[in-house]
């Protein structure tokens, strides 16, 4: 069939040829190892760390000398007796991580449970959308972080306020992407389903839900990013635990290497959570991934 070439040089074949996936994987790995990509990647990363190290710890350039360097950060991170009390050997480190993850899980879970059905419904019933969409559109331009003071005011407990903030961040992204997903479904699928005798509930479960799934997962990935984004701000301003709080607290206590440890940890966890959603998405949408696997 047709192939469409793009500037990145990859040809996207629309027709699949059955090749065992394992041998395909090794074939690709071999090709990749022969290309300059892995070596340039390594070189790029080493250059980044080298620059960081040279500017902060070796040459101690003005302004840079105040920043924690890679050596001091790594030393602190893996030390059994850390100077500032946070390393992979201390339970406090894991407690902060766990607290943050727990908050994101609660907020993200709630946003998904409420946002996905709401978005599906808005896309499915025009009248419902007419009534709800304008209110959402008015609230949406307000960045979730502008809610911080109001959230603290509204909720009797700090913990609830932080979760509420994190929830807000992901809720809008999830709902709007789900809505967009339903609206992106080709009218022909609805017509085909009705032709074949499908009733309203069949159309909802067999057309609306699977058709919107790709957008829902894009939305969930974005919303996961937003959750971490708002969580950090919430924890910095109002937290008593968690990675955002750890960053802010270490700043106040002048324990600079800990800031970097917490930042990197945040990056790793944030990245892993998005990867997890992507993975679940590919599992649920075999019809998409299998068609374009070559």
């Amino acid at each position: 069939m047709q192939t469409e070439q793009t500037l990145s040089g990859k040809a996207v074949a629309t027709q699949d040829v059955s090749v065992s996936s394992i041998s395909l994987f090794f074939f690709r790995l071999k090709l990749w190892m022969k290309s300059p990509t892995p070596y340039l990647t390594l070189l790029g990363l080493s250059l980044f760390i080298l620059t960081w190290w040279l500017t902060t710890e070796v040459w101690q350039l003005p302004r840079f000398e105040k920043l924690p360097g890679p050596v001091s950060v790594v030393k602190e991170w893996v030390s059994e007796d850390p100077a500032y009390g946070i390393s992979i050997y201390t339970p406090e480190y894991y407690e902060h991580i766990w607290k943050s993850i727990l908050r994101v899980l609660q907020a993200f879970g709630l946003a998904t449970i409420l946002g996905v059905p709401l978005g599906l419904f808005m896309g499915w019933k025009k009248t419902f959308k007419d009534y709800t969409f304008p209110v959402m559109e008015i609230l949406r331009p307000i960045p979730m972080l502008a809610w911080v003071p109001l959230a603290i005011l509204m909720f009797p407990e700090r913990e609830m306020a932080i979760i509420y903030l994190t929830f807000l961040g992901s809720f809008f992204a999830t709902t709007l992407n789900t809505l967009l997903g339903v609206e992106s479904i080709d009218e022909a699928y609805f017509r085909a389903a009705r032709c074949l005798g499908a009733k309203s509930r069949h159309i909802f479960f067999k057309v609306v839900v699977p058709g919107a799934l790709p957008f829902i997962f894009t939305g969930l990935q974005i919303s996961m990013g937003f959750s971490w984004f708002s969580l950090v701000a919430g924890e910095m301003l109002a937290g008593e635990f968690g990675l955002g709080y750890l960053i802010w607290n270490s700043f106040i206590l002048v324990q600079y290497p800990v800031i970097v440890i917490a930042m990197v940890t945040l990056g790793v966890i944030g990245w892993s959570s998005s990867a997890l959603i992507r993975f679940v998405g590919t599992l649920l949408m075999k019809w998409q991934s299998r068609g374009s696997s070559l």
Binding site: D16, A188, R191, A192, A193, C195, L196, A198, R290, G291
Partner: protein, 293 residues
């Protein structure tokens, strides 16, 4: 393909096959449709009347935007008509006051195809009987496998539509329609985007289905050769507002194959249709130019 003698007719008992009274007679009387997008009235169909006999392979040709699809959508029940009546087997299907309800007796094969990409071929083909609650899952599966095999589509039941070729997809879509034993098969330029070679295979396949089932087929196209090769009658529509300009009986014998493409009668008919359509196409083109300016 041709070795299979059984019919493509799911509730396929032999009596059904030999049913003395074929079904699927379509009577369209003075159908008129006015669109009102952007506050501008557009007359798409103007007093369009035609009688399609049961079991007829009826092909509608006409310039782009002449209201062919409007007519098909009204029959399928996707939208209403402003005035006039459409009857299916002498029962009122839709009129100026009543919109038809889409249903499994009039199945549409869409221009760009509408196999659900999230379901496998088998799940697509069994969709109709399962949502209607007409068959058990296992019976539907058996039936579907049979129909797929008859259409030369063995071994792809568990593939997703994105994994098979566009020609196969189109055939699966016809299989999905035939699963429901419809009275009328509504086909909206189904082979438009295909290359000439694939098209010939598709035509052969569709003619086999037609010869075996004798369903009424309401086929829209603007490929004139396709129209004569497939159709029992060719209806030429005028440019917008659309109405039937000319009906041409295609008296070529069935079963047809590619030998008739070089027969004198075929060439005569082709000439007749070309002359009739060309005039309308020119009008439509000039109207289009004006709209763009």
């Amino acid at each position: 393909m041709t070795t299979s003698t059984s019919t493509i007719c799911p509730t396929g008992t032999s009596e059904m096959h030999l049913s003395p009274q074929p079904v699927g007679k379509l009577s369209i009387r003075n159908a008129t449709k006015i669109y009102d997008p952007d506050g501008v009235n557009v007359l798409a169909l103007d007093n369009c009347s035609m009688e399609v006999e049961a079991g007829e392979f009826c092909v509608i040709v006409g310039p782009s935007g002449c209201g062919k699809t409007t007519l098909l959508n009204a029959i399928a029940g996707f939208h209403d008509i402003t005035s006039g009546d459409i009857f299916l087997d002498d029962e009122l299907l839709c009129s100026g006051t009543k919109q038809a309800e889409p249903g499994a007796d009039r199945i549409v094969v869409f221009q760009h195809g509408a196999l659900f990409p999230w379901y496998t071929v088998l799940e697509n083909v069994t969709f109709g009987p399962l949502v209607q609650g007409k068959m058990s899952a296992s019976a539907a599966k058996k039936e579907a496998e049979e129909i797929l095999a008859q259409m030369g589509l063995k071994g792809i039941s568990h593939s997703y539509p994105s994994e098979i070729s566009s020609g196969m997809r189109r055939r699966v879509e016809i299989a999905r329609a035939m699963m429901n034993n419809p009275k009328v098969l509504l086909m909206d330029e189904p082979y438009r985007a295909m290359d000439a070679l694939t098209k010939t295979i598709m035509h052969k396949n569709l003619l086999d289905v037609y010869d075996q089932s004798r369903k009424t087929i309401f086929f829209i196209t603007h490929d004139l050769e396709e129209a004569i090769f497939l159709g029992t009658r060719v209806y030429v529509m005028t440019t917008r507002p659309g109405t039937i300009k000319k009906v041409i009986d295609v008296d070529l014998p069935r079963p047809r194959d590619y030998k008739i493409l070089s027969s004198d009668r075929y060439l005569e008919l082709k000439q007749e249709v070309i002359e009739s359509v060309h005039e309308e196409a020119k009008k439509a083109f000039e109207a289009g130019e004006r709209e763009m300016a």
